[in-house]
Subunit: 384 residues, 2 copies
């Protein structure tokens, strides 16, 4: 089938910043796109051919939206999978396939999938309700500290909490959840795996998330990861094992822990373009968004190597600032070599809200890392 | 002034493929855009915030369009400059400035500008009407062969003809024109110069247009040009001289001839993103479209170096094909390493119509050039 300048229709569920970056690629190839999002102000509203306002979790909205598209993809996992299953049964190509999406969408199911398939992951217990955790602690089944994760609807750090005492449980919603053993990790890594509808597979280089030494928050995504070749090899092997078991079509971003003794554990996965792959826009031969489009259209996958080293810094709202956003000192970072800011277009900032990202590329990784730190220390996302 | 996620408005005259590629950058930075084009089917209609259908040559259309924008730029030179002058006098920042645009818009004026400023260019004669040329030939003022160029409204090879005999003059429109001495050139080069509103200047590497040995048509744009360093230095010097005399804001693409004895002559210039800079999307630290936006917004200019070698191939409609377009073998070129097609979104092809371009990048120039040839020999733009 011809996708370029033809009658082919691609549907995207979710109209946020990931969708917006996907739309650059569909525009490059003149692919007709239809996007649905709950917000009439979604970043994708312009740049797609046809925008539909609707709830991603509503069966009828999703089903009606998807009926006339040829291929349907997502930019967020929290969508109505029942509607997708019906569309799939009616011949719409849904990528990621609903089988994969069902496994991933629920974190308890996802963890069980890893253990069922002998994929290394941190030990965990599943609870139907958060309120069941206290019993488990009192009868010795669970020890502090552990990581509480909501089974559903977590996104960007929402729905995750480190629990060190009974009091930490007080504010948590009483929902299906898991309690996961805290991993004493040396680094967090990620591997983006691309798999097209014909089963062709390619992996991007292993990236590394560098944490702020005090705040325990990811500060930099670094490609390639500064790890031993043997560790990188192991990380890619684990990512490929997840990929082949889960049978996704499109991208699969596999987040991993490298433990103190160089074991690789799967943290979680996302079946779509991912924050850990944003560096690829400037650094890779084929960026992750183009690759996702290639994969779901059954086109040959592009070269995943990097042209240059890349470091990504998330732009989040500064503490103490809520209101109309201002990007303070953005001119100063534009003076630095190899620096590209991406502004997601949210008009209002609030503390820690993800407002954009900045990519820094250079032939020399050490130089890119140094400039990234200057970027981080220079730009501030504040309110007027 | 803050441009990012603010009330700032950028106007673009012309909604074709160059405008479309500019819009990727404005979207990346969440800059509000308003675009005018004569066609309701213009590629920019989606992806801009506000589309206006109107004639670029009509005073009222251009003036009305530009009144409420902060900065106004163009993607094509053939616009109503009187309207731009009025807008400029009323405080709209028009980039390129109308003084520069008036010089460039008329090829006779442009050529006179070069001779007035001691900028090397091929000898020429200006005629108020094509019909005056015959007299000049009969009285010995002009010899065959020469290049006839319409003074106004030429674009993409339109309005240019090599004249070898009186008969060749028959089909030409009777308009203001120039007759230019044919240059016996070794190669055609181009230098893209960026100049921002504060007067900061950067040049991209010299690129080379490689011609088909028989068809005498540009086949490849190659960056960097495979020329001696001394020739590249001279080309950049000449381009910078044009830039400083013409006082543009934004990009200035300077097309040059390298003569058989390594002299550099200016062919013509364009005060906007240009076909000779398309390779920069994949190959450069800062692509030409982002650079144009930086320049007209008075932001610091980005690094113009290349990450990798780049070769660009224009995708034009195959001979003998008119109608609904099909990109034959596009899957095959997507299998090649470092190959990125750009499809402009024209639904109808006709012989030699510019339908898109393909960029090939590689660390190794010889490899990129070889793959470019494979691309050229593989993909065909045909009709259904």
């Amino acid at each position: 089938m011809q996708f370029f300048s033809s009658n082919f229709k691609l549907g995207i569920l979710g109209g946020g910043q990931l969708g917006k970056m996907l739309l650059y690629e569909t525009r490059k190839w003149d692919i007709y796109t239809k996007v649905m999002d709950a917000s009439a102000e979604a970043p994708c509203k312009i740049a797609c051919n046809h925008f539909v306002q609707g709830s991603l979790l509503d069966f009828d909205d999703v089903y009606t939206f998807g009926k006339d598209v040829d291929v349907l993809t997502i930019e967020i996992e929290n969508v109505n999978v029942d509607a997708l299953e019906k569309l799939e049964s009616e011949g719409v190509k849904v990528y990621p396939p609903t089988n994969a999406l069902r496994v991933i969408q629920n974190k308890a199911t996802q963890k069980l999938f890893y253990t069922d398939n002998n994929i290394p992951t941190a030990p965990f217990t599943r609870f139907a309700y958060t309120s069941e955790i206290e019993d488990s602690i009192s009868n010795g089944g669970l020890q502090f500290p552990f990581v509480w994760k909501s089974a559903q609807f977590g996104y960007d750090g929402q729905g995750v909490k480190v629990v060190r005492s009974l009091e930490d449980l007080n504010d948590l919603p009483n929902v299906e959840c898991i309690a996961e053993k805290m991993v004493d990790f040396k680094s967090e890594l990620a591997v983006v795996v691309a798999r097209n509808a014909k089963g062709e597979i390619k992996t991007y280089p292993v990236v590394e998330m560098e944490f702020h030494p005090e705040a325990n928050q990811v500060e930099y995504v670094i490609c390639p990861a500064r790890i031993k070749a043997s560790v990188a090899k192991k990380a890619v092997e684990v990512a490929l094992k997840v990929s082949s078991q889960i049978e996704h079509v499109g991208l699969l971003a596999v987040e991993l822990f490298q433990t103190k003794d160089d074991k690789i554990l799967v943290n979680e996965v996302a079946p779509r373009p991912h924050n850990s792959g944003h560096y690829s826009i400037e650094a890779s031969y084929t960026n992750q968004f183009e690759q996702h489009i290639r994969a779901i259209l059954g086109l040959p996958l592009g070269k995943t190597d990097s042209k240059v080293a890349g470091v990504m810094v998330n732009l989040v709202g500064a503490e103490g600032h809520t209101g109309d956003v201002v990007y303070e000192n953005i001119d100063s970072i534009l003076e630095m070599d190899g620096v590209t800011p991406h502004i997601y277009g949210k008009k209002q900032t609030r503390p820690f809200r993800k407002m954009g990202h900045v990519t820094i590329v250079d032939e020399d990784m050490a130089k890119a890392r140094k400039v990234a730190q200057q970027v981080k220390e220079t730009i501030k996302v504040i309110s007027k």
